[in-house]
Symmetry: C2
Subunit: 461 residues, 2 copies
C-alpha cells in the first residue's frame, strides 16, 4: 500500500512514474536481497518504466534485479528495453521465464525484439512460440530491415466488401478471442483479399446494422507496400494523419497493418538518429560499454583529423605571412569558427527541409539564393563589427579591413555550401543527415583560413 | 481524368502525391491563368499536399494560386500550412471563403490555426464560428501556450459508469451527428464528470450488449492535467503507447481529449526544434523572408563572435611563442577542432539522454565517468596519431609530444564538459537543447588553444 502512495505522489509531481525515489527504493531492496519487497515495488510499474529502470542501473545491479524477481520481466518489458541491453537481459533470464514472456506478444513486437539478437538467442525465442506465431515471425524477418514488413502486425481485422455493419459486428463478437488488443479500423477487402477501403470503429458503432460497409468507407485511404522503408511510412502517417494503414504485397493483397504508435516510434528513432548524426555520433546508447562508445565516436573524429590537417596545410602555405604579422594567427580562428557556425546553421535547415520535403527540385534555386542573401546580410553585419574591433581596439585598420572582407566572403560561402552539400548528397542518393555537421565545419575552416590569410598576404605584405 | 492518371503514377513511384510533375503542372496552369485546370489539379490532392505546394512556390505565385482557385483552400489546408505563411494566405483569402474554411474544423484545429495570428485576423476567424465553437476556442486560448489545454479537442465521447455496452452503442447511434470524426475510446466518467477509465471501441464492438462498461475498462489509464506542457504530453504518449488520453482540470473533471496524432505532431516539432538548436538556429522556416531568417541566425553567431574573441585573446597571450615557432599556429586549429567535435558528440548524446529521461540523478556520475573514459581512449588514439605525424612528417618530435598531450587533455575536457554543461543547464531549469552546439564548440576552442599553446610555451621555450 505504502508503495502505491509513493508512486501516486511522484506521478502527481511531474506526471512520470519512474522518479528517483522509486529508483532508490528498488536499489535498497536489491541491496537487502529482498525479492518480496522488490516485487511489491515493480508490481504497479508500467513495463516501459521497468525497462527504464534496468537501463539506468549498472550491469551488476541489473543482474541482481533480474535474479531476485525474474517473473516481473515479461515480453512487454523486453520490447521496451534498449536494444543494446536486450541480449544481456535475455541471457540472465531463466528459459521458462523467457518462453512465457514472448508468448503474449503481438507478432510485430516479437520481430522487433529478436531482429538484432544473435542466432542462438533468436532460436531460443522462436522455439518458445506456437507454430503459427513462429511462421508469422519468420516471414516478417524475411522482409528487409526497417521495411514496412518488419513494422506491421499480421493480426488484422478485415471484412468482405458485401458485408453489412451488422454482419461485421456479429463476426467480431463471435471471434472475440482472435481480435488484436488495439485496432482502429476494419479493412474491407475484395475476393482476392485486396483492400478496397476501410471503416472506422466509430462509424461501425454509430451506423445502423443494415448499412453496407461500402456506404461508410473513409474518403481517404492509403495502402503501404510491404517493402516501403520505415522512414517513408512514418512520413506518410504524419503527412496524412493516418491512424492505421493496411500493408499489401506486390499483388496488392493484404498482409498486415501498421498502426500509428509504431509509426511514431520510427519517427522518433529517425529524429534521434539525425540529431546524433549532426553531432557526428552514430547509433549509440548510454548503456553501451566504454570501448563500444569510443569506437562509435572514432570515425567522425578520424574524418575531422584528416580535414583539420588539410586546414592546417592551408595555414602552412602562409607561414611567412604569419611570421611577419602574428596578429593574423590570433584572429584566424575567429573567421573559421564564424564560418563553421554559419555553415552548420544553413546545413541543419537544409537537411530538415529535405526530410520534410519542403526543399524540392522546384524551389532549390530560390532557397540557395535566399541562403546566399542571408550570408551577405550577416556577413556585412559581423564583418563590420569585427573590422571595427580590430581597427579600433588593436589599432590595425588594414587588418580590420581584411578580416571584414574575409568574414563577408566566408559567411556567404558557408551559407551556400551549407545548403548545396546536403542537396548534392541527396541527389547522389546519400542520406544528407549522415555526412553532415563535422563535414561542413571543416570545409568552412579551410575556406576561412584560405580567404583570410590569402587576402592578408595580398594586401598587407 | 488525365490528372488522376498522372497522380497515380507519381504515387506509385515513391508513395508521395506531391511530385515535381504535379508542381510543374500547377505552375503551368497558373501561368496560363487557367482556374478550371488548376481546380482539376487540386481536386484529388490531400490538404497536406496542397499546403506543401503553397509552401514551395514563391509569394507571387502563391497569391495567383489563391486568387485563381480560392475554394480549394479550406480549413484543413490552412491547418496544414506552415505558421509563417498562414497570415499571408489568410490575408489573401476572400472573407466568405475564410469563414467557410474554419467552420468545419475541430476546436483543437481552430486553436492551432489562430493562436499565432495577429488580433484582427484572430477576430475575423472567431467571428466566422458558431457561438458554441467560439466559446470553446476562446476557452482553449485561455490555457498557456504549448499546454495540454491547447492541444486537446473538446469533442469527447463519454459515458456514465453505470451504462452497459448496449446503452452506450444506442446513445452513440442516436447522437451520430455530434460524434468526432476520429475517436478511439469511450471515456467512462463518474457523476462529477471525472474520468474513471476508458473502453476501446474494439472491446465495445465485440462485447455482448448486456456487459457493463466497468467490466471491460482498459487496465492502464492515464489522465493528463490541462496545464501539462506539450513536450511532456508527447513523452507520455510515446512512453506508455497511449492512443488517446482524457484531459482533466484541477478538479479532475473531464474537459477534453488528446489523440496520438496531435502528440505525434508535438513530438515531431520538439525534435525539429532540438535539431535546429544544436546547429544554433532558432525557430525557422524556408518560407521566412530573407531579413527574418538573417535575424533568426544572428543571435548564435553573435554569441559565437564573442566567444571566438575570447579564444583569440587566449591565443594572443602566446604571441611571443608563435612568433618563435610558427608551426604552432599551423597546428593549433587541429587541437581546437578535434575538441569541438568530441565535445559536440558528448553533448548531443547527453541532451538526448536527458530528453528521453535515460540520464537521471541516479546515473549521472556513472555517465560522466564513462564519457571521461571515452575521452581518454580517443585522446590516446588521436594524440598518438597526430604526435607521430608531426614527429615524422614535420620532423619535430618535441612539438609532436606537445600536440599528443594537448589532444589527450582537450578530448578528455571536451567529453566531460559536453556532458556536464547540459546536466548543469537542466538542473538550473534551462532547456539544455537551447544553449548547446555553438556554446560547446567555442568552449573547447578556448581549452584547446590554451592547453596546446600553454604546454608548448612551457616545454619548447
Amino acid at each position: 500500500m505504502n508503495d502505491e502512495v509513493i508512486d501516486k505522489t511522484a506521478a502527481d509531481e511531474d506526471g512520470f512514474a519512474l522518479d528517483n525515489r522509486t529508483v532508490s527504493a528498488v536499489l535498497l531492496a536489491v541491496a537487502a536481497g529482498d525479492g518480496a519487497r522488490l516485487g511489491e515495488l515493480l508490481e504497479p510499474m508500467h513495463s516501459a518504466d521497468i525497462a527504464d529502470l534496468l537501463e539506468q542501473v549498472d550491469s551488476g545491479r541489473r543482474r541482481e534485479i533480474l535474479l531476485l524477481a525474474p517473473w516481473h520481466f515479461d515480453g512487454e518489458v523486453l520490447s521496451e528495453l534498449d536494444e543494446t541491453l536486450r541480449e544481456e537481459v535475455i541471457a540472465f533470464l531463466p528459459p521458462e521465464v523467457l518462453a512465457e514472456a514472448v508468448r503474449d506478444l503481438d507478432s510485430d513486437d516479437v520481430v522487433d525484439l529478436i531482429e538484432d539478437l544473435e542466432p542462438p538467442q533468436q532460436e531460443a525465442i522462436l522455439d518458445a512460440l506456437e507454430d503459427a506465431d513462429r511462421v508469422a515471425v519468420e516471414q516478417a524477418l524475411g522482409y528487409p530491415e526497417y521495411s514496412a514488413g518488419r513494422l506491421m502486425q499480421r493480426e488484422v481485422v478485415r471484412a468482405p466488401e458485401h458485408w453489412t455493419v451488422g454482419e461485421t459486428i456479429d463476426h467480431m463478437r463471435a471471434n472475440k478471442k482472435t481480435l488484436p488488443d488495439q485496432f482502429y479500423h476494419v479493412i474491407v477487402v475484395d475476393p482476392g483479399i485486396r483492400p478496397v477501403g476501410y471503416v472506422t470503429l466509430g462509424k461501425l458503432l454509430s451506423a445502423k446494422r443494415s448499412v453496407p460497409l461500402t456506404d461508410i468507407l473513409e474518403d481517404s485511404f492509403r495502402t503501404i507496400p510491404v517493402t516501403q522503408p520505415g522512414a517513408e511510412v512514418a512520413y506518410l502517417f504524419k503527412q496524412y494523419h493516418l491512424i492505421s494503414a493496411p500493408v499489401v504485397d506486390e499483388g496488392g493483397r493484404l498482409v498486415g497493418v501498421i498502426t500509428i504508435d509504431d509509426a511514431m516510434n520510427v519517427l522518433d528513432e529517425e529524429h534521434e538518429e539525425d540529431y546524433l548524426r549532426l553531432a557526428g555520433v552514430g547509433d549509440t546508447s548510454l548503456s553501451d560499454k566504454v570501448l563500444t562508445t569510443a569506437k562509435g565516436r572514432f570515425p567522425w573524429l578520424m574524418v575531422n583529423l584528416v580535414t583539420a590537417n588539410v586546414a592546417a596545410s592551408v595555414i602552412s602555405q602562409f607561414e611567412a605571412t604569419i611570421q611577419q604579422i602574428v596578429l593574423l594567427a590570433v584572429l584566424m580562428p575567429i573567421v573559421a569558427s564564424m564560418g563553421g557556425n554559419a555553415g552548420t546553421q544553413s546545413l541543419a535547415v537544409a537537411v530538415r527541409a529535405l526530410a520534410t520535403r519542403d526543399l524540392t527540385a522546384s524551389n532549390t534555386w530560390r532557397v540557395v539564393r535566399r541562403e546566399a542573401l542571408v550570408g551577405v546580410l550577416n556577413g556585412l553585419a559581423f564583418g563590420a563589427m569585427m573590422g571595427a574591433v580590430v581597427a579600433l581596439w588593436f589599432g590595425e585598420p588594414m587588418i580590420g579591413a581584411v578580416i571584414a572582407v574575409a568574414l563577408l566572403l566566408t559567411l556567404i560561402g558557408a551559407a551556400v555550401g551549407g545548403v548545396l552539400i546536403p542537396i548534392a548528397l541527396e541527389r547522389a542518393g546519400v542520406d544528407p543527415a549522415v555526412a553532415s555537421g563535422p563535414f561542413v565545419t571543416t570545409i568552412t575552416d579551410i575556406v576561412g583560413f584560405f580567404v583570410f590569410l590569402g587576402i592578408a598576404t595580398m594586401v598587407l605584405l
